[in-house]
């Protein structure tokens, strides 16, 4: 079942990385590089084109010690007109 994130919160200071145009392995690498710049405990949202990619990246991030909070489908109305699959992750290192 799909859940819908509340992405329209104007107080939302969580950074969003749009990787819908990237292919494997750059979907993971670019997410990982972004997380390396962040502090432990900070959150990041990453948008991928499809579910398989989002779940693959989630698996790799988990094995690197990051905490995957959710993976869900999003629609244009929710985030800057973007359709895709969103992964929400908390920096774990």
């Amino acid at each position: 079942m799909l859940r819908h994130a509340e992405l329209n919160d104007s107080n939302d200071r969580i950074e969003v990385l749009d990787l819908r145009d990237e292919n494997c392995p750059f979907t993971f690498i670019k997410t990982k590089l972004k997380l390396e710049e962040m502090k432990k405990g900070e959150e990041l949202k990453v948008i991928f084109s499809d579910e398989v990619t989002a779940r693959d990246v989630a698996k790799s991030l988990t094995s690197e010690g990051h905490e995957v909070l959710e993976v869900l489908e999003i629609h244009g109305a929710q985030l800057k007109g973007i359709d895709g699959w969103m992964l929400r992750v908390r920096c774990g290192r």
Binding site: F26, I29, K32, L33, E36
Partner: protein
Amino acid sequence: MSDIILTQEQIKRYARQLIMPEIGGKGQVKLLKSKAIVVGAGGLGSAAIQYLAGAGVGKIGIVDGDSVDITNLQRQTIHAGNLGMNKAESAAKFVKTLNPDVEVEVYPENVNVNNVRDIIREYDVVVDCTDNFPSRFLLNDACVMEKIPLVHSAVLRFIGEIMTIVPDSACYRCVFPEAPPPGSVPSCQEAGIAGVATGIFGVMQATEAIKLILGLEILENKMLYADLLTMEFDLIDIRKDRNCPVCSGKVKDLQEESYVETCRIE
């Protein structure tokens, strides 16, 4: 936070190592900011230089006073097409073609008592790819005195050894206080050398240098000895010799007479 931001091209170039937790973006930046010097662009150096360059070590110094001869090409594959050229120049040409991220400094000369400390001083790690005992002792002593990590290796026929020396670890002289008497160990010309042996050990030297830059586990106080005919690999624990004239700090300067014949320092 690192002050180098990887370009899109670098993210592609180093993708296969950025993926790994041991390297990642931070490790890649460390590599790009690091400086390694390879002394000897022969069989070992040929292999070591290629992989240091591929990994994106930011600056590579290459030291060699010889020129490429046809008898070298069986193992010194970096010199393809460069017969007669100085080996350091030839290897530098390869590096520039493979990876423009790498700055290369060419030293078309051999190390000696007078130049070695000045040559190695600006580098983070020295890779000993020389083919004779005086040069090995000279590099060991200079690196201990300058407190610069050194990756030693030597090969003959199908056998080889490798160890990494860092400040306060056992040094090459702790293991071998002196060279064997001249004539007792056959030279590369007399005994022969398998090209693959130089390749394997040279690549292991690059591995050690890269791990050292990244802060990963290295062959510190350990020597790896391998016979590639039987494929027996032995990891030998070695101990610092408290009476070692060099790493105990007793000897503070390089003396010409310490690098002839047995290279022993009394």
